[in-house]
């Protein structure tokens, strides 16, 4: 895994930790961006972690591009010697899988899909050799996911499942993007899940919907009053399958300002994870139950 540094014009440095996605590449990016944040270099204006890369924006009137590059490269060595543990949080996200709204939208744009005769969830289950919709839900919600990037539009998380490559769910994007996606759709493209923070165009497969807002520019949602976006890179997500009744109930509770997501602090070690994936995931998910 060789790190590649390149300038994005006179204001950005783009760093590719690896060409391919892996938890190791994501962690490398997290370590360097954390070291960069702690280094407090004058002239650095934005630090944006992504899946297997990251980007730094700087003001070249304050720090010369070559000097910025030199300091950033020096941090890679510092970051590599740092222990690959992350103090983060796990957030439980309720999902109404195979819901009527994403189903209806999927039907409306069926001619843009690889398999017009089935639904997104049936199609993805089949190409991943999962046992129908139930088998799919079990695989999707059975292991936690890392928020490996927040972006595209405001507050939208990209998530990468914390399982080995053989167990990654993979699906192509729609042949042609849809012009509509319901807000809070749980989607999937390549090996990444996402939650659409706002209604709009999209190309990811649609598997379900969460009743839990994740972006609120008016900041009236009870748990988004301090900040309008819920997710940060490095958060861990556990999907919780729910049915129609709990979905409706949760929507009503959110609207009444009474609902709070379940969030718990958790420590994640890449070393521990590499040795025992399922054991680490079980411990991480247990944190939600207060153990």
């Amino acid at each position: 895994m060789t790190t590649r540094y390149t300038f994005g014009g006179d204001e950005h440095i783009f760093v590719e930790c690896s060409e391919e996605m892996s938890l190791e590449a994501f962690f490398k990016g997290m370590s360097i961006t954390t070291a960069l944040r702690n280094a407090n270099i004058k002239g650095v204006t934005e630090i944006c972690p992504a899946n297997a890369s990251f980007q730094v924006r700087f003001n070249p009137d304050i720090i010369a591009p070559d000097e910025m590059m030199r300091q950033l490269k020096a941090l890679e060595a510092v970051a590599q010697s740092a222990p690959s543990t992350l103090n983060t949080r796990i957030i439980e996200v309720p999902v109404y899988y195979n819901d009527p709204w994403t189903h209806e939208t999927g039907q409306r744009f069926r001619e843009r899909h690889q398999d017009p005769t089935s639904t997104d969830i049936e199609y993805t289950a089949r190409i991943n050799n999962l046992d129908g919709i139930d088998g799919f839900i079990k695989a999707h919600s059975g292991a936690p996911w890392f928020v490996s990037m927040v972006g595209f539009v405001a507050g939208l998380p990209f998530l990468y499942q914390m399982v080995d490559r053989d167990r990654q769910i993979q699906s192509p994007k729609y042949l042609r993007p849809r012009t509509d996606t319901p807000r809070l759709t749980v989607g999937h493209g390549g090996c990444f899940a996402c939650i659409y923070s706002v209604r709009g165009a999209g190309g990811y497969q649609m598997f379900g919907i969460t009743p839990m807002p994740i972006y609120d520019p008016n900041q009236t949602t009870s748990y988004l009053r301090d900040f309008m976006c819920l997710f940060k890179p490095g958060d861990i997500v556990k999907w919780k399958p729910i049915g129609r009744e709990e979905y409706d109930h949760t929507v009503a509770e959110v609207d009444a300002g009474r609902w709070q997501p379940r969030i718990a602090p958790v420590t994640f070690s890449l070393e521990e994870f590499s040795k025992d994936i399922d054991g680490t995931n079980a411990r991480v998910m247990e944190a939600l139950n207060g153990h």
Partner: protein, 323 residues
């Protein structure tokens, strides 16, 4: 003091110098696409260079003033009129209580900046008054203006009527427009010949050109260096594992139509980028109309920094002349 929006124009939004600091969670900087013109408009009416103004695309709004104010219109050649009486661009003029500011047809450029003494006083959200419509954030209720909106205006200082920016200091794209670009990012993904063609060809601004990004067409498609798709990237040769997009970066989905991301940029995605338009030329993009012939000009970092310094000097000269 307030402004009553009688007609909103095509797409008029409140913008200032932007909202940096939140790109890592997908909230782009927003702000004026031609910030040099935006700053000049403010300085003409005695505002701070970064006060909030109206950015009007292709067509001006119709605005009724409830108090006297000083106004300046810069950027595009979008002739302002006070009660039907034409006023010069790039020049401060007075609008009296009850008078209506309207606009003639666009003659040149794409975006007019309408500064009002005191600035447009919408609430500051995450450090800026700029509108980010995709996220329904900032500006006037997070959206472009509509008829019937009542825009609050701050308290201004008194400046003389007729202050003007010298023509030599007004920057505008040439014909063809030239956008200086520093190759990089995923430049290695396209063939050597494709790289040559890209700079040789004259591109044209496509109709899909807005605050998120400007699309260009009419150049030869780029071909790629063959590869085995990396895990998680996707099968198209232009796909990458979703990554951040620099402002000004030039992505070329499937190698066909380059898109230059601008101030309401999507913060990341899965298409490779072949370089970045230098910071000094971002203003020019904001003034390009659809179908404008455009050439990308290859530059080095040194040339990019010289261009940046030149732009800063221009702004300084405007500020000094109006101090």
């Amino acid at each position: 003091m307030a402004i009553n929006v009688l007609k909103p124009g095509l797409s008029t939004t409140v913008q200032d110098l932007g909202r940096p600091g939140y790109y890592h969670i997908g909230i782009p900087t927003s702000g004026g696409m031609d910030t040099l013109s935006l700053a000049a408009a403010n300085l003409l009416v005695g505002n701070d260079a970064g006060a909030a103004v109206l950015e009007a695309v292709f067509m001006g709004p119709e605005l009724e003033f409830t108090q006297d104010a000083m106004v300046a219109v810069t950027g595009a050649d979008l002739p302002p009129k006070v009660d039907g009486q034409e006023q010069p661009c790039w020049t401060a003029f007075k609008v009296k209580k009850g008078q209506v500011l309207s606009f003639g047809f666009l003659k040149k450029g794409a975006r007019g900046y309408i500064a009002v003494s005191g600035g447009i006083d919408v609430p500051v959200v995450l450090g800026s008054r700029s509108t980010y419509t995709l996220g329904a954030l900032g500006g006037f209720e997070g959206r472009k203006l509509a008829a019937g909106d009542l825009l609050p205006v701050g308290k201004g200082v008194l400046v003389a009527e007729g202050r003007t920016v010298a023509e030599a200091l007004r920057r505008a794209p040439g014909a063809p427009a030239e956008l200086r670009m520093l190759p990089g990012l995923y430049w290695h993904r396209i063939s050597e010949q494709a790289g040559k063609n890209f700079f040789e060809d004259t591109w044209k601004v496509a109709p899909e050109a807005d605050r998120i990004g400007y699309r260009f067409k009419a150049g030869r498609p780029l071909d790629f260096v063959p590869r085995t798709p990396p895990f998680g990237a996707g099968s198209d040769p232009s796909n990458i594992v979703d990554a951040c997009y620099p402002y000004g970066s030039v992505q070329v989905p499937s190698g066909t139509e380059p898109i230059v991301l601008h101030r309401d940029a999507v913060s990341g995605g899965g298409y490779m980028m072949i370089g970045t338009v230098v910071s000094a030329d971002m203003d020019l993009i904001g003034q390009l109309q659809p179908h404008t012939p455009t050439k990308f000009v290859k530059v080095t970092m040194e040339q990019a920094l010289t261009a940046r310094a030149d732009r800063a000097k221009t702004l300084e000269a405007i500020a000094t002349a109006l101090a």
